[in-house]
């Protein structure tokens, strides 16, 4: 049943497809095909009557007339068929997808000579055209087409589907604004058609991008792009986006203009989302914070900034929130989140006067950048009790959504409202040779390839590496570099400079062979990680901490590695052997390393610059400074 969607499939154990099932499905398909054939036949017969030549690509919903523009077509529908598409849309506040479904619904009914309003089947298509209704309540029949099966184009190459929304560009204040890339959507939809041909059991949402998601999901590449859904867009998703664009070279020219769009387009890859949701540490931390603090969430108005699949919103709904506003910039993911909320009976239908099954839900998905939502006056300023977001990027701030969260806080959070998480802390520690690329390349099948190791470490002194660091490779203490209080911080606080001091780790590390002799170890650089806290300030029943430390199970954020220009030898408290030797050499190991780290947003979209100043302190108090290193990730 290719076109039926909304099957909650969780209960379906597709273990054993018995013959009977198959047959039943075949039948249904045949039925559809019949309708389709009819339509084709009529279509051909009409060819001769075309008035406007090849420009008239828009076929009337009811008869064989063709038109060159939506407006003339819709005018014709009003005058000849008493069908006011624009009126219906306005009246019901149908978004793009709503209109899309309506068209497909009407076409499917007409093809079977059924009245789209009352369902009566007429003897002939002429009979159907003469069949009329005086009055009816359009609201009452909306559920007839409010089904995702009608997201599948009923008619092949139906130009109407991607032209009917064109004139509304810019006025989209609905859940989905109208600035949808129709071409892309159509491509997706077509792709969906192709895919669906032999498909019998799922007719899923089609508005996410097949190409893009294929790419990302396949091998969990998503971790590369660290991915949380980012309302304001982040190029870590864009790193995947290249595939989208690669597949659609026609989009290239628009790239510059559409930076944001492309960023968000890339979020549609579900692989990222599986990766994130599967990041158990992350998801469990949020889940606990949301579900185990009933006094905070019960009856609360919640806003989820960058909702992605909407998992956090679903938790919030489960926790008893009275209203959940899930904001998502990616059109496709917003559509997916809507679908998921519907499938789980948690979606709040927009037409409040409607008594259908969805109206019990509390989640509304709002598509758009959080910074631009104020245009839609649906959300009252300072009306949100709990602001929820998974905004963290690599190294906490790399392409993070923090500024969007702060924007949302200032705009919509009630005075004294909760923000989850409410603290974020960056930590730093030094790592040894095992944390570098050197060891492997020194002997490869008997050949010396250490030039590659050098090259890699050389690059690593300019570009941060996001990777897991084994805690055995950490050679110093760990210390706090910077703490953010999300409830009180200013927007400018996102950029900071902080100092830290590292001493040789005195614990029982076993990694280094020269430990025994002189307890001198080389520190090759520093590793940064973060923790976010759902503290008792808001989470009174159960505070939660989400840590991305090398000492705790790994997360998709890994850690961030900044490599020194050269290794710094360290030893704890030993008097230096050679007063003339440079600090940080084997002859005169440093007892401490002083760091000064700045992290600032770079000019480019969501990237950050990190500067690292390093100084070694000798046992005699002498200090040796290395040139400042700038790490950038643009």
């Amino acid at each position: 049943m290719a076109t039926i969607s909304n099957h909650p499939q969780s209960e379906e154990e597709p273990k054993n497809h018995e013959f009977d099932d198959e047959e039943e499905e075949e039948e249904n398909e045949d039925e559809e095909l019949e309708g389709w054939d009819d339509w084709e036949a009529e279509d051909e017969a009409a060819e001769g009557d075309e008035e406007e030549g090849s420009d008239s690509s828009l076929l009337c919903l009811f008869c064989d007339s063709r038109y060159g523009s939506c407006d003339t077509l819709f005018d014709h529908c009003i005058s000849s068929h008493h069908f006011d598409f624009r009126g219906v849309r306005t009246k019901l506040g149908l978004d793009f997808y709503g209109g899309f479904k309506l068209i497909n619904y009407v076409r499917s009914q007409v093809a079977e000579r059924r009245c789209w309003i009352c369902g009566v089947t007429c003897e002939s298509s002429q009979g159907l055209q003469n069949h009329k209704h005086e009055t009816f309540s359009i609201e009452d029949i909306k559920p007839l087409w409010d089904d995702d099966r009608y997201l599948k184009p009923f008619m092949e190459d139906d130009s109407l589907l991607y032209t009917f929304g064109e004139d509304e560009e810019g006025e989209g204040e609905d859940d989905y604004n109208a600035s949808i890339d129709k071409d892309e959507l159509m491509r997706d939809l077509k792709k969906y058609e192709e895919i669906c041909i032999d498909d019998e059991n799922t007719g899923d949402m089609i508005v996410y991008n097949a190409d893009n998601s294929d790419k990302n999901g396949r091998k969990g590449v998503a971790s590369a792009s660290n991915g949380h859904l980012d309302v304001a867009g982040s190029s870590k998703k864009a790193s995947k986006d290249k595939h989208l664009r690669g597949s659609f070279p026609t989009l290239l020219s628009k790239d510059i203009k559409n930076v944001n769009e492309n960023y968000f387009g890339a979020y549609s890859s579900y692989g990222i989302h599986r990766e994130m949701i599967s990041d158990k540490l992350r998801t469990d931390a949020y889940r606990q914070a949301i579900l185990k603090n009933p006094s905070l969430l019960n009856n609360a108005v919640v806003m989820d900034v960058g909702c992605g699949t909407g998992i956090l919103s679903l938790f919030a709904a489960q926790a008893g929130a009275s209203r959940v506003i899930a904001v998502e910039a990616s059109e496709k993911m917003a559509a997916v989140a809507t679908q998921i909320a519907m499938d789980n009976g948690l979606w709040q239908s927009k037409s409040q006067n409607e008594g259908n099954k969805h109206s019990t839900g509390v989640i509304e998905v709002v598509q758009g950048m959080v910074e631009e939502l104020d245009k839609s006056s649906k959300i009252q300023p300072h009306s949100v009790d709990v602001l929820l977001s998974e905004w963290m990027g690599y190294c906490l701030l790399y392409e993070s959504m923090l500024s969007s969260v702060l924007f949302a806080r200032d705009q919509w959070l009630k005075p004294g409202g909760a923000i989850l998480p409410d603290t974020a802390t960056i930590f730093v520690a030094g790592f040894g040779k095992g944390g570098t690329s050197f060891p492997f390349w020194e002997n490869v099948y008997g050949f010396n390839m250490s030039c590659i190791g050098k090259e890699l470490v050389g690059d690593a002194a300019k570009i941060p590496i996001v990777d897991i660091v084994d805690n055995h490779d950490i050679v110093t203490n760990s210390t706090v570099l910077q703490t953010f209080d999300l409830a009180t911080m200013n927007h400018d606080d996102v950029d900071f400079t902080a100092s830290a001091e590292l001493e040789p780790y005195s614990g029982g590390s076993t990694g280094m062979s020269n430990d025994m002799e002189c307890q001198t170890r080389s520190c090759y650089g520093v590793v940064l990680w973060f923790e976010t806290g759902f503290t008792s300030r808001f989470c009174k029943e159960m505070p939660v901490v989400l840590s991305t430390s090398p000492y705790t199970p790994k997360t998709h954020w890994s850690q961030t590695i900044l490599t020194f220009l050269e290794p710094i030898a360290m030893a704890s408290g030993k008097p230096s052997g050679d007063r003339l030797a440079a600090i940080g050499t084997e002859a005169c190991p440093a007892t401490k390393i002083q760091l000064r780290v700045s992290i600032a947003r770079a000019v480019e979209h969501r990237s950050i610059d990190i500067s690292l100043e390093t100084a070694g302190i000798g046992s005699d108090g002498r200090k040796c400074k290395w040139p400042v290193q700038i790490f950038n990730l643009h």
Binding site: S10, D199, E200, K242, G435, S558
Partner: protein
Amino acid sequence: MGRRKNSNDNNMNQSSHSHHSHNSKIRFEDPEEEEEETTQCSNNLDESMCDPECSDKAIDEPNDVSFMDGDDKTSADYYFDSYSHFGIHEEMLKDVVRTKTYQNVIYQNKFLFKDKVVLDVGAGTGILSLFCAKAGAAHVYAVECSHMADMAKEIVEANGFSNVITVLKGKIEEIDLPVAKVDIIISEWMGYFLLFENMLNTVLHARDKWLVDDGVVLPDKTSLYLTAIEDAEYKDDKIEFWNNVYGFDMSCIKKQALMEPLVDTVDQNQIVTNCQLLKTMDISKMAPGDASFTAPFKLVAERDDYIHALVAYFDVSFTKCHKLTGFSTGPRSRVTHWKQTVLYLEDVLTICEGEAIVGSLAVAQNKKNPRDVDIMLKYSLNGRRCMVSKTQHYKMR
């Protein structure tokens, strides 16, 4: 049932080289990228990475394929690509099955190499050239178009083979060799699913242009196979996952997941049917177009079980050796970095011993992006417990 290893977990065990091994978490699992880099097109990306200011220059390079890619990438990609660029070489070198097989072929068949002129297509770090030089080749031309060529030069020097190995930086299609003919072409061109972002056409080009009439191509034979597996647990993890996400139904996402062949290791105990040979290619004779094909298959169940997926894998052999040498990337062999390629079926098939899944597998280059592979799988099962006939499309990208 045996369980596939989670690649990240594997990485956790390689703590001494945590960067690279873990890097796989970030990029390795993106096989197409990596393959591409090892093979042809990494120069642009790398140079841009090492010196972001140079990206213009990189784009000017007449490498159309990577031109598109380079154009598409954000600098964040440059960064990841560069880092993983070395990472993929590390991963391939650490693939003992792969590297040791080449090493054995070369060291144990010195008669092939003695005083011969060798062309190494897509030399990467130069490891195969070093093997050949050590085996007594008169001269080795190591052609590598990426930035790795510079590294390979340094490596050749560091190991004292500068007089035997000449590293040439450039594309095979554009480069001038200092000699008119070569006796041997050696290459490690295979991609995931054998054909995904592979370098086969480059090897064939080099063969037609430079190889002497009775010359040797190493490897010279490769075959693609198909089998069927029970894979309930992993299908649950990757596909059915979406049915129940922390208690919520996200099944609308599932369809997309099915279209993506999954590169992963399969335990041999999961195999339910025979393994069917789909296609054999003779690298010394074949034409480039032969890599697109449609092949019929018949997979007969060896026990009663469920079938969740079909699995494709390939083997590679060097038939010109004293004794036939080669390796398989199949589930019954030691795991390689190619792993296997898993094509999940929409439905679970119930199959009884002796019943057969019959059908065909069509493999073609994607028209828009020749490096991508489109796979069309037609299959039917007419069994006691299950009757199904279906076509599924997959895209490797």
